[in-house]
């Protein structure tokens, strides 16, 4: 499906600028994301984290009056020039802050993307649904009620359902946008374990408000503030006593004002 021989950079962002109307929210940022790493993205609200993800899978197209410049390449391909934007989106799994159960059964939620891509054989679908639900650590809790509505699950279960759904189209990149906002610490830890497992075969972008979560999981961490990169370095450096920028230390230690 993809030429894995490409450079070790899975995603390259160059001079990315984004404005909503006349208000610029991302001011020309450049960085790389390596293959099979977990990149933590930290920063306060309104710093452009979610907008960045939406530029990546081009769901930004659906917000009227936006202007994007600069380039984002995935596997060496410019996302704004790809021939098949649906294939691009299938390459990227997206998990939103609040779980969005589509108004379908648990099974259909997970089978949604494969079906839309043309997979209809029951046996294969069954297998796939089970595998994704297992990967998201949800299978044991729902295996007896796959036919009930996804929206009937608890918040934490629904969030794991959206993770299973994001995995269902076998993405190479998984983006998690503050996935733990609506779930309890125990479930969060379970999902974090899942992510550690998944990093072996996919690139993960972990946008999070919990700096400690980035510290636990990320290989490298990026501190994004007001649409600019303050610092991007290995997680060890970012969370050490001496990051390059004093703002990083202040933010990480919670004395950022």
């Amino acid at each position: 499906m993809v030429n894995v021989t490409a450079s070790e950079n899975h995603i390259e962002v160059r001079e990315l600028r984004l404005s909503y109307g006349v208000k610029e929210v991302i001011h020309g940022i450049s960085f790389d994301i390596r293959r099979n790493e977990i990149l933590g993205v930290i920063g306060p609200a309104q710093s452009g984290k979610t907008s960045l993800l939406r530029c990546l899978n081009r769901t930004i197209d659906f917000t009227p009056d936006t202007h994007v410049s600069g380039t984002i390449t995935v596997d060496g391909e410019d996302v704004r020039r790809v021939r098949n934007v649906y294939a691009l989106r299938r390459k990227i799994g997206m998990v939103a802050p609040l779980p969005v159960g589509l108004p379908l059964s648990i099974y259909d939620n997970v089978a949604f993307a494969p079906r839309s891509a043309g997979l209809n054989r029951k046996g294969e679908l069954d297998l796939m649904v089970e595998q994704c639900l297992r990967q998201a650590a949800l299978w044991d809790e729902v295996k007896d009620r796959l036919d009930s509505l996804g929206t009937k699950l608890s918040g934490g279960q629904q969030q794991r359902l959206t993770i299973a759904r994001a995995l269902s189209h076998q993405p190479e990149i998984l983006c998690l946008d503050e996935f733990s906002i609506a779930i309890d610490p125990v479930t969060t830890m379970r999902i974090e374990d899942v992510l550690k497992e998944l990093r072996r075969h996919m690139t993960i972008i972990l946008v999070t408000n919990l700096t400690q979560q980035a510290r636990r999981l990320a290989d490298r961490t990026m501190f994004l503030w007001k649409g600019e990169i303050v610092e991007l370095d290995t997680t060890n450096v970012i969370f050490s006593d001496k990051p390059r920028d004093s703002r990083t230390r202040d933010y990480v230690e919670g004395i950022f004002g």
Binding site: F62, L98, S116, A166
Partner: protein
């Protein structure tokens, strides 16, 4: 009288009680009105049921309608039931795909400006009085039908169906569009992020999510079709006849009442049978609503 919290002034609590009672009354007035209409119509119709010259099965299943015959009066409305069903049915066959299609286009595919313009035009369509629709059916449409199908008369099921479809489309469009718009945007984003095309989004997410509202839209359209009087009176030819094709003229239950009630002497059998037709119409629409309600409840429970 027992007052509310110890320190609250009594007057305010009295006022609140009165308001409560008023709102209560408003709520229950709906039931009173429905019952009142039913009782009134049924009371006018009732005596004919016990009349020995009248049989209910003949009323429902015979298509002999000779209410003013000197020797042998017969009151069978089966042909008019068939007329109502055929005209409404044809109208829905035309209006439902059109209406749903337009609603999908409006809510998912067109730009802001086009949407505003189209909505104004569609609302204008809804504001055309039904007698004007009837007039269009009688003059413009019937000529076109004669010209293109070679039918002997242009006022028939096809004509009435098209006119009725045009009348129900605005209702179906505006309610379906509301239903589609009510589907949260987060569903759209979630589905789009999974890599589905816009059509797949519509088929697999939006239509299932909005099905309750869409069903309500269609059934309101049916209700409009069954109840519409003036336009179909003018456009369907008013012939008591079970239609064999869409080019046959028919008479509907509503048109029959409208045309004959003024002629029927008050208190006569004819007059009472027309009221019984009213009861029948009432029962049909009640049935449609009940079915709709049951389906909607069923969907909700699941």
């Amino acid at each position: 009288m027992q007052c509310g919290p110890p320190n609250a002034p009594c007057g305010r609590w009295g006022g609140e009680k009165i308001l409560e009672a008023l709102v209560y009354l408003c709520g229950f007035s709906a039931i009173i009105f429905v019952l009142g209409i039913f009782v009134f119509v049924f009371k006018e119709a009732l005596p004919v049921l016990t009349n020995e010259n009248f049989s209910l099965s003949q009323f429902l299943f015979s298509s002999d309608w000779y209410p003013t015959s000197e020797s042998n009066k017969r009151y069978g409305v089966f042909a008019m039931i068939a007329g109502t069903v055929s005209v409404t049915g044809l109208a829905m066959v035309i209006a439902v795909p059109f209406g749903l299609g337009a609603a999908i286009y409006l809510s998912e595919f067109c730009g802001q400006k086009t949407r505003e313009t189209l909505k104004i035009v569609i609302e204008f369509l809804a504001a055309v009085p039904s007698v004007v629709w009837g007039f269009i059916g009688l003059t413009v449409m019937s000529k076109l039908i004669v010209q293109y199908t070679g039918a002997p008369v242009g006022v028939n099921v096809l004509n009435g169906g098209i006119i009725l479809a045009l009348m129900s489309v605005p209702i179906i469009v505006s309610i379906s569009e509301d239903a589609l718009k009510a589907v949260p945007d987060s569903y759209r984003e979630a589905a789009i992020a999974l890599g589905v095309t816009r059509w797949q989004l519509v088929w697999r997410v939006l239509l299932p999510a909005a099905k309750q509202g869409l069903l309500a839209a269609v059934l309101l359209g049916v209700g409009r079709g069954v109840g519409e009087t003036m336009a179909v009176l003018m456009a369907t030819g008013h012939a008591v006849h079970i239609p064999h094709s869409v080019l046959d003229s028919v008479r509907t239950l509503t048109a029959n009442i409208a045309a004959e009630l003024g002629e029927a002497p008050a208190g006569s059998d004819h007059y009472r049978v027309l009221f019984l037709t009213g009861v029948l119409l009432f029962t049909i629409t009640f049935g449609v609503n009940l079915i709709a309600d049951t389906i909607v409840r069923g969907i909700r429970r699941k």
